[in-house]
């Protein structure tokens, strides 16, 4: 079991707050802290599923499958692929928005992926430590209840910023079909002031997909690796919501 008070040297500023939290909710001796509240976990898995659907269908929109046989009226392959893409995109947008709202009412950790405390020296020190840990320079990992600072940076950039970019460009592209009187065009048509030729918006949306592919690879690898190597649970925490500590 982990006793936060017994490890003052490595204790995070967060941890003292968590100790109180843990004391309140689970009693002092419990080894787990409730980190990811239910809405956070639901958003995580819905977004994960949407992103996978979006990547596959998005790729197939850029590079369509071989032609189908028969009459055009008897087939709707591209139509279904595009429908899945648009549907998953709107689901992602809604849950992304819900996740932002939850950051206002949720616990301390629900806000972590939406901003970086870049003005705090301590934050950068911790990022450096995490880089050293991943570069095999430090043998002993630190303990974190929420995201470690490097993971937080990756989440902020790779998820929050990239997905926001994809949602904005995605709706802008959708507005092309929906028409210039649609709410999508009213809200996101300004994208075409930046790139007047929508071919460029397509290209950036495409590059954004690949950026997310890279993020997903690193995200899953880091989560699994941390689960094995670090002193806290990672993967199961996103299912149960509780972070288990071990030592």
């Amino acid at each position: 079991m982990m006793d936060v008070a017994a490890r003052p040297a490595e204790a995070e500023p967060d941890l003292s707050a968590i100790a109180a939290d843990a004391a309140g909710e689970h009693g002092v001796c419990r080894p787990a802290v409730y980190v990811y509240e239910a809405p956070v976990r639901i958003c995580h898995w819905v977004n994960a599923f949407s992103i996978i659907v979006l990547m596959v269908t998005g790729y197939l929109i850029g590079t369509p499958l071989p032609s189908v046989e028969g009459e055009a009226s008897a087939n709707f392959v591209m139509g279904y692929i595009r429908f899945a893409h648009f549907a998953a995109g709107q689901v992602l947008a809604v849950f992304f928005l819900a996740r932002i709202l939850w950051a206002f009412v949720g616990n301390h950790y629900s806000r972590q992926i939406f901003y970086l405390p870049v003005h705090r020296k301590h934050f950068w020190k911790e990022v450096l430590h995490e880089i050293r840990w991943y570069a095999f320079l430090d043998r002993e990992p630190k303990m974190y209840v929420g995201h470690n600072p490097l993971a937080r940076t990756a989440m902020f950039t790779g998820f929050t910023l990239f997905v926001a970019f994809m949602i904005v460009t995605g709706f802008a592209l959708y507005s092309e079909g929906a028409g210039i009187d649609s709410w999508q065009h009213k809200l996101f048509g300004w994208v075409f002031a930046i790139w007047p030729n929508s071919q460029d918006v397509h290209t950036w949306h495409h590059l954004g997909m690949w950026a997310l592919v890279v993020f997903v690879m690193v995200h899953i690898y880091a989560a699994v690796r941390e689960d094995i190597m670090s002193r806290q649970s990672i993967v199961s925490s996103m299912i149960s919501g509780e972070r288990q500590f071990r030592d």
Binding site: Y59, A72, L207
Partner: protein, 363 residues
């Protein structure tokens, strides 16, 4: 210049056109502009009462394809547009006067109709070397353009050149050819892009302005909504093949003969705003996709610089190499994948080494 107070109606009656034909023309124009039931009578009323709008038509750095297209308009006939609806006072290409005479007309129109004439610009001004790459009546075109624009009511930017820059503004753009709206900031500008624009779109815009005395409703990029609010793709007659997933894979394959969608052949219909798939060309005879070739996106910004006309994905040149988004993405994903695998391997080795070390210590 007594002609300036003449109306369109009095001019065509003098040409021997009956009132019945005049109303037929009004109905047809109202229909092609998509106006409501009262549109025809409003057009008739405007053409009967309003003085003809003076137009100065200037040519910058261009190929005159806009004029070539314009003179082929069928509805309305360009003859009606030029000789009756507007008072085309100055157009270097098709006017009878030349030299000092032509310059005098330009000055006269400018002075007499200050703030009332329309300036139609075909082509664009090159700004490099003080504008010396395009000389117009002994002066750099850019100076002349600014001068004439100063007293204009509004400006029509004909074609991709005036709207976006087109081929002379393509990279590396040695003459620094610049679209009109980057040079003139204080006048309403209506962009009618295309290389060239469709003839009926050009005369349609002119008819709208002469009829209602104002510019048509413009979209975010300054193009008239009535002709540029939808993509070629949205109204393409091959759209059903796109939705079905039936594509031409090669120019001479069976799918090409069957008239399948040209998406995979690099058709720019999905990213191009124009009226080709509805109005079509040469009096509604055909348009590029109908004749078996993809759209090249000629009415879009910088269409010369977006890679091949025959690629679906745009090439990106930022890294000194020409690759499309998928090629760049796959390389990035592959590199990161390899890095992840290597990192995992090192982690595993370290962990095993660490364990045996621990085991050694405890034993």
């Amino acid at each position: 210049m007594g002609a300036a107070t003449e109306t369109f109606y009095s001019v065509i009656r003098r040409q021997g056109i009956t009132r019945r034909s005049f109303h037929k023309f009004c109905s047809l124009t109202a229909t092609s502009l998509g106006l409501g039931p009262l549109g025809a009578s409003r057009i008739a009323n405007a053409l009967e009462t309003k003085p003809r709008v003076p137009v100065i038509w200037m040519h910058g750095l261009e190929c005159t394809c806009c004029s070539e297209s314009f003179i082929r308009s069928a509805h309305p006939l360009v003859k009606d547009a030029v000789l009756s609806m507007i008072s085309l006072d100055y157009d270097g290409t098709i006017m009878a006067a030349a030299g000092h005479q032509a310059e005098a007309i330009l000055e006269e129109t400018r002075a007499k109709h200050k703030g009332q004439y329309i300036l139609a610009v075909e082509g664009n001004p090159p700004l490099n070397e003080g504008g010396m790459f395009c000389i117009h009546g002994g002066k750099p075109f850019v100076e002349k353009l600014k001068m004439v624009a100063e007293d204009a009511m509004a400006i029509i930017a004909w074609g991709a050149c005036a709207s976006w820059g087109c081929v002379q503004a393509a990279k590396p753009n040695p003459t620094q050819a610049t679209p009109i709206d980057k040079v003139i900031a204080n006048k309403p500008i209506i962009k009618v892009p295309g290389c060239p624009p469709i003839a009926e779109v050009m005369t349609g815009v002119i008819t709208f302005i002469t009829t209602f005395g104002k510019l048509p409703e413009l979209d975010r990029q300054g193009r008239p909504k009535m002709f540029y609010s939808q993509r070629i793709h949205d109204k393409c007659y091959r759209r059903s093949h796109f939705d079905a997933g039936q594509f031409v894979e090669e120019w001479d394959d069976e799918a090409a003969r069957k008239g399948y969608c040209l998406y995979k052949m690099g058709c720019k219909g999905p990213t191009t705003y124009n009226a080709c798939s509805t109005v079509r060309w040469n009096g509604g005879v055909s348009f590029p996709i109908q004749s078996g070739h993809g759209c090249i996106g000629c009415s879009e910004d910088g269409f010369w610089d977006k890679g091949s006309f025959y690629d679906r994905l745009t090439n990106i040149k930022q890294f000194g190499i020409e690759k499309n988004a998928d090629q760049i993405g796959m390389v990035a994903a592959g590199a990161v994948g390899a890095a992840v695998a290597a990192h995992a391997a090192v982690t595993a080795v370290k962990r095993l080494a660490g364990k045996s070390e621990d085991a050694h210590h405890t034993s």
